[in-house]
Structure formats: C-alpha cells, structure tokens
C-alpha cells in the first residue's frame, strides 16, 4: 500500500518539480526548471560549447592561428549547434527559429550563428582570410556568439539572477578566457613554447578579469533585490553548495590562481597549462550550472 502511495506521489509531485505543489508554487520564490533540469541540461552544455568555441575562434584571430579557427568553428557549430537542436521538443522544426529576430534573442542567436558559420568557413578556406576587415567582422560575430547564451537569459526580466548587469560581461570574459586557455594549450603542445609563454601575460589578465566579474556578479545580484539575494543564498546551500565551492571556488578560481602564480612571468609548461585548462573548463561549467540552477521567480502573492 505504501509503495502505491509513494508511486502516486512520484507521479503527482515528480522530483523535477513539474507537479503541483500548491502550498509553495509561486507562493514562495520558485526556481526555473525548464532550462537546466532533465533535458534542460542540453541547453546548459549548448551555451557552454558555443561560448568556448567562439572564444577560441576569437583569440585565434589575434594570433592568426588557423587550427584554432577550425577547432573553434567546429566546437561552436557541431557541439554547440547540435546540442542546441537536441534540446528542442521538435528538432525538425528548428529552422523556424529564424522567424522572429526582431523580438526574440534566441532567433537573433540563430541568425548570428548562421552568419558565423558561413563567414567562418570562408575565412578558414581562403588564403587571405586574416585581413583586418574580415577579422574584425568575425571578431564581432564571435563576441555576439559568446554572449548569446547569457544574453538569452539576461533579457528575462522575471529572473533577477539572470537579468543582473554583470551577466553579460561575465559571459564575454569567460568565453575569451577559456578560448585563450584552449589556444595556449594547443600552441604549447604544437611546439611553440615561446608563443605559449608570451600568451601567459594575457592569461593572467583574463583570469583576473574573470575573477572580478564573478565577484561583481555575486555582489550585484545580492544587492539587486530580495529575489536576487534568494538566488545567491540558493547557490550557497544544498547540492549547489558543493558545486559552488568545489566547482567555482576551487576549480574556477583557486587552482587557476595558483597555476597562474607558478607560471607568472611566462615560465610555462604544457602540463600546467593543460591542468589549468581542465580546471577552468570544469569551473566554468560549474559556474554556468549554478547560475542557471539558482534562478528564481518572484512570488505572485
């Protein structure tokens, strides 16, 4: 009998929270679930891969590093694009998402990714692809793609944790920072130790900018309003506490900081760069997960 009741409870009040909970739903701050729980994880990964792919492409433009362009282009389109489509309830209708660029941030993103795909391919296959005008256009497109995921979230006024002013700068810096780390690793293993060492100065700049953006995001969201404060509190309790401390505190900040200090002045080596790359990827995934998971709606009454 108790099993039957438990089964009924699981159906009426599924653990994913989609069931009816009249005593708390929108009476207390209610968490958004669609873009992070269950299949929503696809969106979390899609935003991440689009961001790091475009970040790698962006940084590669400055070093005229064609392999970086190719890998960045592939990560953005194959991993980011395909996972985006897999998330949809009706993937075969994905083409319809080009229909409303005037109001929908998602639609604008599809257009930007489409233009990026076409021009990026042109830049990769043509010999004079690194001319200033072309690179500037591609750089702007990359920045738009990097910020696309968080921009889509940023326009949602109902979720203060996402509509915080620092969400977009954080997204831009994290994309460039991780893209830079991937490129630095590629350069270091391809035998260009001097270039990898030279890139370390920028790695340090990006890392500190990234750290500053995280601090400002937390500070800004905490002080935005009561619901923003609730989101930050949620990031620091329950299951998210471990992810916040280990993922963001340790992997995204502390370990890269230690490694940046070890390699300070350009004393780099491939293993340390790889270690830092692994940490910043895991850290940024954790950061995005925590931000997406902790967004709450203002109660209706």
């Amino acid at each position: 009998m108790s099993n039957k009741i438990h089964e009924l409870e699981q159906i009426m009040f599924p653990p994913d929270g989609s069931g009816l909970k009249p005593y708390e739903w929108m009476v207390n701050p209610t968490r958004q679930r669609q873009w992070i729980d269950d299949k929503g994880l696809f969106l979390w990964l899609a935003f991440f891969f689009s961001e790091i792919g475009a970040g790698l492409y962006f940084v590669s433009l400055f070093y005229a590093y064609k392999l970086g362009l190719i890998l960045g282009w592939l990560i953005t389109l194959v991993l980011g694009g395909v996972i985006h489509v897999l998330y949809l309830g009706n993937p075969l209708r994905a083409w319809r998402m080009i229909m409303k660029p005037n109001t929908s941030e998602l639609s604008r993103g599809i257009w930007i990714i489409g233009v990026f795909a076409a021009l990026g391919l042109l830049q990769i296959v043509t010999s004079g692809g690194f001319n200033m005008v072309f690179s500037t256009i591609m750089g702007i497109l990359c920045l738009l793609i990097i910020s696309h995921g968080f921009a889509t979230m940023n326009v949602i006024r109902a979720l203060p944790a996402w509509s915080s002013t620092m969400v977009l700068p954080l997204s831009l810096i994290s994309g460039v920072w991780i893209g830079h780390q991937i490129l630095q690793f590629m350069v270091s293993v391809s035998g260009s130790a001097a270039l990898a060492s030279g890139m370390e100065v920028w790695a340090e700049v990006f890392f500190f900018a990234y750290f500053l953006c995280i601090v400002l995001y937390v500070w800004g969201t905490w002080h935005s309003n009561e619901i923003g404060k609730e989101s930050i509190k949620m990031q620091l309790r329950g299951d998210l506490l471990k992810i916040s401390f280990i993922g963001i505190g340790l992997l995204a900040i502390t370990v890269p900081l230690i490694l940046a200090l070890i390699m300070w002045g350009g004393d780099t080596n491939s293993f340390l760069i790889f270690l830092r790359l692994a940490c910043v990827i895991a850290g940024d995934l954790a950061l995005r997960y925590v931000i997406m998971k902790s967004a709450v709606y203002k109660p209706l009454i």
Partner: protein, 218 residues
C-alpha cells in the same frame, strides 16, 4: 473586435478549486497540469496575520513576455487579445515558459502525456477520449486559451461571452461565488470595465510591464 479580459474578486473567492477542476475537465489536462491554480499565502505576522487567496491563470498580457521570447512566432496575441500557441509552429524551446513571470505555461512532453490518473492501471476511458477530443502535440508548450473554442462556438450562435454560459470560459461558469467576471475590456459599458474602475482593479505584478488582461479586485 472585442478584447477579452477577466476580473477576479479575491474577496469572494473561497478557494474551492472549482475553476482549476473545471478547466482540467474542459481541456482534458493530464495529471499535474493546471491552467488554473489557486495560490494560498499569508500576509502579516501573528496575531494579525491573514490568509490571501489568489486564483491565477494566464494573464493574456497585451505586451506578453512569452510572445516576445518566442523565436518562431508560435506564441502570438490574437486580435481578441487572447495569447495563443500555434502547435504547428512551436519548436519546444521553452523560452516562453521561462520568460513568463506568472509561470502559466506547461511543456507537454511524452512524460506528461504518459501520466495516468490511476497510476499503473492504464488510462481511463475519459483520458483516452480526451486525447482524441483535445489532442495536445508532444514537444510543444500548452496554456490557458480563455476557452477560445467555447467563445468562438458561442459567438457563432449569437451568444455573448461573459453573459451566456455556452460562450464563457469554464472557470467562469463553475465559480460558485461569481468571483470571476469575463467580458470585453474594450467595451466601456461592460461589467468588467465598471468593476475595474469602481473597485480599482489591479493587475498582478504590474512592474513587469506586460499589461495583463486579468484584473484583481477586493
């Protein structure tokens, strides 16, 4: 062309959940899916605390966040002010669902479709008939439509929505205390406009600037 709206008198509401159940019956909604809900909260501190009851449904906003967010145009505001979803165009991105400050939309996936009212015993005849009469498409978003089918059928018969039962939303008809009043917001002589003006009708979470068509009076 009218612009449909609703006034809900929260002082009259007794939280019987009749609106929610009538809506489920009208649209054959599966377990766990509600287009109408009743929120019950508290205000103040003991011993001066009091209970607050708010029946809620889609606000059919004229400047709807869901319409803005929809990348395909599947969610749109009809000429009569009803916010509708074209399930042929919906890609299931759920941008509308996330952007709605009132959380009045539901993503209809296979998991929701497979839910049974009597778990493990298969779907009842009623549930099976519902799937035929009121089919939702898997992978799309569903929501309250102010019972637009009833409105349209009723008007074809020359009935007046808000006055005649056969042309009014199910939640309005079922309400035992007449807490819900339905009518044309563009008609200055309509009862709902009179109530909004006389009793200073309030929209829910006006700060989001979505211009809801559902007003609350007390």
């Amino acid at each position: 062309m009218p612009r449909w709206g609703m006034v809900i008198d929260v002082k009259r509401c007794i939280a019987c959940w009749g609106c929610a159940i009538a809506c489920k019956e009208e649209h054959f909604l599966p377990p766990g899916v509600f287009f109408n809900r009743v929120l019950i909260g508290e205000t103040g501190k003991f011993p001066t605390s009091s209970k607050i009851i708010y029946p809620i449904l889609c606000n059919h906003c004229s400047d709807a966040a869901c319409v803005e967010a929809c990348p395909t145009g599947a969610t749109y505001v009809r000429e009569d002010g009803i916010v509708a979803v074209d399930d042929e165009k919906c890609v299931g991105c759920r941008a509308c669902l996330v952007s709605c400050p009132y959380q009045q939309r539901t993503y209809y996936d296979q998991k929701v479709k497979d839910r049974e009212y009597f778990p493990g015993q298969g779907k009842t005849e009623m549930e099976l008939i519902g799937e035929k009469l009121y089919p939702f498409k898997v992978g799309t978003v569903i929501k309250c439509n102010f019972c637009s089918e009833r409105l349209e059928d009723g008007m074809k018969k020359g009935l007046t929505p808000g006055k005649d039962e056969d042309a009014s939303p199910a939640c309005v008809n079922i309400c035992p205390v007449n807490a819900r009043i339905f009518g044309d917001l563009d008609d200055p002589d309509s009862e709902i406009n009179r109530l909004i003006m006389e009793k200073k009708g309030k929209q829910l979470r006006k700060e989001f600037g979505t211009e809801p068509a559902v007003y609350y009076i007390d």
